[in-house]
Symmetry: C2
Subunit: 362 residues, 2 copies
């Protein structure tokens, strides 16, 4: 049987649909714009695990009152280069967008800006926030804790997140270097997608709830398992460092107290904590020199002799940038399941925009 | 054949011997004190790969004029929380000690301090510097580039370092949490030590110069091979981020331009670049609350159910702290090779302290 080409949707249509959905759920226009842009851009850049496939659960959490419809970011301390804020269970995407903006303003004023936030929620693709700094010729950084999906090194209880970090670095002629990684070998989103697609996972990605290696994506995550850390104790230690830098620093929630997106939680706040940093190259070699040197650095890496079976050495963020460039022209391919779920969501919200009618064949 | 117990030396004697050696090589008293303390503490904490086993090469480089006998750290920019300095090929240990001290002073004044340094050299154990911040109830961070020992992801040329990072976090009742990791599965020092001991290495630690997996520690590093990154493209991306944050930011040397400790280099400067950060918990929940919460956080991790074959969950830095506590009482065991090399070094320098006479049987 020939594989059917997936239907496609334009970036603008996908973003527009998401924005309508958020506004129907009671989110103000400007905040709906921020979060829908982030969600659609995740799919545009090929990170479907953290994109519109999660729109239904985000909307459901807003409807149930687990997440604030209007973002409330209160600064408890705000002095010089540092800010410390409470998000009161607001949407992680909007919190992260605002907090990164604040870090950028502080970096422009003081050379460095550091913002730590407690009581936030899931914010999707980490890399999109430091990219805001890189667009302004600054270095951007973020780390976050997350809902439990790993066991501590030597443990079997799933109590720690895979706590991502991301850096973005501005460049002159190349696209920005964007490193975006979680401290597990793969993300939970990848396991959820494999489960949705009915695919098995390779051994070494996850452990089941008894601590045994598993090739079943459900057992490895949604069924109570643990994701494997990168580099054994090293990745596991990075998880702890990111949690300390976000939640211990802010008095926020940690480890098993952080709620999963998929958990029924009548108390409301998911409780994720994030830290954002922006750094001004003018305090060092200067913005122009830094961007030019970034180009030279990129070239020095890409010019390395290739390993067998490698045609080209790619910088962090380069695959996503290529996908974005391609999909802006040809549209974003949509998984059948996601099309169904977004269609049903649109219908339930009574959107004027019919999701199916925005799809086209490539 | 019964294995012979290694001879031991007290921390004070080992440090004293190193200090004499540095002073004989022309290093001023206060700087000899800093570097000898760091070297001996590396062995005290069980990190022999980065300790006194390297004293002969450090001294040789001083004698050959590859490294400045008197440290010269010039600040090119120094404004608010940020400092940008040039080290002119000074000893990495002293540079890092001074730069971390400066980051601490800035954190005390501005809430955060960030110091980046170019044209420095090998500084030994990364974790000892952020620990200086933790001793003052601050959070400490460091990252560095290093001499080439890895290939970029997808490449086969050994052009990038394994570029370590380290964090230290202060606590109330427990010892500080000290995460200290390089972005390779193991350090080059481990391979050098295996080669010295005549031991093979497990597959997965390193590749030979043709990009093939090897169990020969010489082929995997000193013979031109590459260390394997943690988490594949993730660890490889972290290597690049740490190099950008140190050498691209400062206009310093990068990739294959950084000289190895073991390379004959008549131009002098090894060229390693480092970045140091200190952060003030008083800008967030406050120092006392932070330290108390660190204790609670540590307990929440250590209380996890254990995996089979694990008796106890250890925090980052806990094994080293235990080794330190033990060795302060019983002395530091010395490898036979190292004893020979230090003995020869002492003789060649005409030290009044005979290294052999400071050793004792446990």
């Amino acid at each position: 049987m020939a594989k059917k080409n997936p239907l496609r949707v334009s970036f603008d249509d996908l973003r527009g649909f998401c924005k309508q959905a958020y506004m129907k759920a009671g989110v103000p226009d400007d905040e709906a714009q921020i979060v829908s842009d982030l969600l659609a851009r995740s799919d545009l850049r090929g990170i479907e695990t953290h994109g519109v496939t999660r729109l239904p659960i985000y909307i459901k959490r807003l409807q149930k009152g687990y997440v604030r419809k209007k973002c409330n970011l209160t600064f408890l301390k705000d002095k010089g280069p540092i800010g410390f804020a409470e998000a009161h269970g607001s949407m992680g995407h909007v919190v992260a967008h605002w907090a990164m903006q604040k870090a950028i303003e502080k970096a422009e004023a003081y050379g460095i800006g550091w913002i730590s936030v407690k009581d936030s929620g899931h914010f999707g693709v980490a890399g999109l926030f430091p990219m805001m700094a890189a667009e302004k010729d600054l270095i951007g950084y973020i780390c976050s804790n997350s809902a439990p999906m790993m066991a501590p090194f030597g443990g079997r209880d799933r109590i720690i997140g895979n706590n991502p970090l991301s850096y973005a670095f501005p460049t002159e002629r190349y696209q920005p270097v964007v490193l975006d990684l979680s401290c597990s070998v793969v993300s939970s989103g990848k396991l959820i997608l494999c489960r949705k697609k009915g695919e098995k996972i390779p051994l070494g990605w996850a452990y089941d709830k008894n601590g045994l290696p598993t090739d079943d994506p459900y057992e490895g995550y949604e069924g109570g398992g643990s994701l494997a850390p990168i580099g054994g104790h090293k990745g596991s230690g990075m998880v702890l460092a990111h949690e300390i830098l976000t939640s211990v620093l802010t008095g926020g929630k940690w480890t098993k107290n952080i709620k999963s997106l998929y958990e029924e939680d009548k108390t409301g706040v998911q409780g994720t904590c994030h830290t954002f940093m922006a750094l001004e190259p003018d305090c060092f070699v200067g913005r122009e020199r830094f961007k030019k040197d970034m180009d030279l650095y990129i070239e020095s890496i890409k010019e390395s002799g290739k390993a067998e079976s490698t045609d080209e050495i790619l910088m962090p963020g380069e695959p996503e940038h290529r996908t974005e460039t391609e999909r802006l022209k040809t549209g974003i391919p949509m998984a059948e399941n996601t099309v169904k779920e977004l269609g049903a969501l649109g219908e339930s919200l009574g959107l004027t925009m019919d999701f199916a009618s925005s799809l086209y064949s490539p």
